[in-house]
């Protein structure tokens, strides 16, 4: 850690990980309700459970992005943050809003569009939080060194704020509602979030491999270029069956197939950089999370997305467990893992230590990743059976669900492994630090650029 103000990231990471815990706990409950449907069914019905599961995910990922930005921007811009105090006020406001939302959900206080259930005042608070963040980091970047990483990160973050504004538009016409709803949801996760992902990944590669910045920056442009060139019109793969014109089946199929390209490029990029450098960064766990992120994003967001993105296939699979399988692995691989990577990388600096608890952290990687992979396979199998029985044979929904009950048990098993992995990770990162390497390495930690 070169700049005192980077320290605010520590609080962001802690808050993000707290909400990560909430998300996984509630996810385990949701998985349990699938196999034992009477579990708490009157106290906390499934719709409320799922609302908390998805909202906690989105909020912790965003808090993690904010934390990552506050950590890496001073180092990139080579200057202290404009206002560390504002960053902390921003965090308290955001965490307060998130907790208020969750408590409200339990008491059935919510709006009703998927992922955008936050009551109006919380949506407004999110905008205020975003503006505080953008003000803070933009001024920091403007007074310091500009790098491609900070530029792309800022474009991504401004995009997140801008597209969120569509959440305030809710027309009475359901088809219109859905079309603009995707301006938030798709243009976030298959658009500007990828900019944030790629820039954090590029930062980690510069720091850990020591490969020349010029090389990394060209790769970064290639990755984010491919992401937006494919991803923007790739929105069309959500416009097949919601009342939008038929030509979206062609545009959506073509461009969303190309959405695999940026993720493939990320895999090639990450492994090339590591291979080229020949340096061994002492934080092996952070390296594992970074490479794992590229690979799992490629599988979850790339391949599992492609699996059901072509219109003639999506006609049958749309809104089945195939979608659930893709959603879980994509969010984990692309966005959960990049957060876990930057946290694993940054925490030793934030705590003023050499990399610690590496073995535990690596264990948590395999537990979480193995669990998520298993869950994805289970849900994919469930989805294929469901598609055939319900969409080809025309059997009733509930009847089909009974046929695939076994897969939900397997999914819950995967979820338990993820839950244990999360506990191990939290302990490895925030628990007592056991340094496993000689102290002499500590002086050699800062990456050369």
């Amino acid at each position: 850690m070169k700049y005192e103000s980077q320290k605010v990231a520590l609080y962001y990471f802690a808050a993000a990980m707290g909400l990560f815990g909430v998300q996984i706990l509630v996810g385990l409950l949701a998985g349990t309700v699938y196999v034992l449907p009477n579990t708490m069914s009157e106290l906390l019905p499934f719709n409320v459970i799922r609302m908390i599961h998805t909202n906690a995910l989105i909020v912790w990922l965003l808090i993690g992005f904010f934390g990552a930005a506050y950590y890496l921007i001073p180092e990139e811009a080579e200057t202290e943050l404009h206002s560390p105090k504002l960053a902390l006020i921003q965090l308290s406001l955001f965490v307060f809003g998130a907790l208020a939302a969750v408590v409200g959900y339990v008491f059935r206080i919510h709006e009703g569009r998927e992922f955008l259930e936050q009551p109006m005042w919380i949506k407004a608070a999110i905008v205020v939080v975003a503006l505080m963040f953008l003000y803070n980091v933009t001024l920091t970047v403007l007074k310091g060194r500009r790098t491609v990483i900070t530029n792309i990160l800022l474009v991504g973050m401004w995009g997140i704020a801008l597209f969120f504004l569509f959440s305030f538009y809710n027309p009475a016409n359901l088809s219109l509602d859905k079309m603009y709803w995707w301006y938030v949801v798709h243009l976030w996760v298959e658009g500007v979030w990828e900019l944030v992902l790629a820039s954090i990944l590029a930062f980690l590669m510069i720091k850990m491999t020591g490969v020349d910045r010029e090389v990394v920056e060209k790769w970064l442009y290639a990755m984010v270029g491919l992401a937006l060139f494919s991803g923007i019109l790739g929105t069309g793969h959500h416009y097949y069956w919601i009342g939008t014109p038929g030509y979206w089946q062609w545009i959506g199929s073509l461009f969303s197939t190309l959405e695999v390209a940026p993720f493939f490029t990320m895999v090639v990029f990450a492994f090339m950089m590591v291979w080229k450098s020949g340096r061994r960064h002492p934080n092996k766990a952070a390296m594992l999370w970074s490479l794992g992120c590229a690979v799992f994003a490629f599988f979850g967001a790339g391949l599992w997305g492609f699996l059901h993105t072509l219109a003639p296939i999506n006609y049958y699979t749309h809104g089945t467990q195939v979608t659930a399988a893709h959603g879980h692995l994509a969010f984990y691989g692309a966005y959960a893992m990049i957060n876990l990577a930057i946290i694993t990388y940054a925490m030793p600096y934030l705590r003023g230590r050499a990399p610690y608890n590496q073995t535990l952290n690596i264990w948590s990687f395999w537990l979480m990743s193995g669990g998520m992979a298993f869950m994805t396979f289970a849900l994919t199998a469930a989805g294929i059976v469901q598609t055939h029985l319900q969409r080809v044979m025309g059997l009733g929904y509930m009847e089909v669900q009974e046929q695939i009950a076994m897969f939900y048990w397997l999914r819950l098993g995967g979820g338990v492994a993820v839950g244990i992995g999360v506990l191990v990770y939290l302990y490895a990162v925030f628990g007592p630090a056991r340094e496993e390497r000689p102290a002499a390495v500590a002086g050699n930690l800062q990456a050369a650029e």
């Binding site: 309700v33 699938y34 449907p37 009477n38 069914s41 009157e42 019905p45 499934f46 719709n47 409320v48 799922r50 609302m51 919510h110 709006e111 009703g112 569009r113 998927e114 259930e117 491609v148 009475a172 016409n173 359901l174 088809s175 509602d177 859905k178 079309m179 010029e214 920056e217 060209k218 790769w219 442009y221 270029g225 937006l228 060139f229 923007i232 019109l233 929105t235 416009y239 069956w241 919601i242 009342g243 939008t244 014109p245 038929g246 979206w248 545009i251 006609y315 749309h318 809104g319 089945t320 979608t323 659930a324 319900q390 969409r391 080809v392 044979m393 025309g394 009733g396 929904y397 509930m398």
Partner: protein, 150 residues
């Protein structure tokens, strides 16, 4: 990544290309907006009752168990065509009656079966909800879903 491919070129391609694709996307959205309002959905049929019904749908967060036109949670049946499953296209009054009966009977309390909460909807709210689902069932969805089962 050769030397001739400069960083400035990469930057220009990224920003220029992104703007181009975004502009294209916005233009196509505008066309689709027009298509939705005038062609694929029933403009005249979008009554106050339908709008109120959509609000009932949202207020009770139905989307976090059910799908609607395939979007939502995958815990409970698709409802974009539930109006047709209830036979509402042939006997609208019967379908509304059936919906009222269904909503009143929840939760079933049957052991081992997924439970739908009791939402305590008023008679009028159920009628509005039915109007919303009826309107939704008539959206031109390119013949999705493939089967009546949703």
């Amino acid at each position: 990544m050769t030397e001739r491919f400069t960083k400035a070129a990469a930057r220009n391609i990224f920003y220029g290309g992104s703007l181009f694709f975004f502009a294209t996307f916005v233009a196509m959205t505008a066309l689709s907006h027009n298509y939705i309002v005038n062609t694929s959905t029933d403009k005249k049929g979008l009554t106050e009752a339908v709008a109120r019904g959509k609000h009932v749908w949202e207020k009770n967060s139905c989307i976090n168990c059910h799908t609607l036109l395939g979007e939502g949670a995958y815990f409970a049946p698709e409802l974009g065509n539930v109006w047709l499953r209830y036979g509402g296209d042939k006997d609208p009054e019967g379908a509304v009656m059936a919906l009222k009966g269904w909503m009143a009977a929840q939760p079933s309390g049957i052991e081992g079966r997924r439970q739908m909460p009791q939402f305590n909807l008023t008679e009028k709210e159920v009628e509005d909800l039915a109007a919303f689902l009826e309107w939704t069932s008539r959206i031109n969805t390119q013949n999705w879903p493939p089967k009546l089962s949703g």
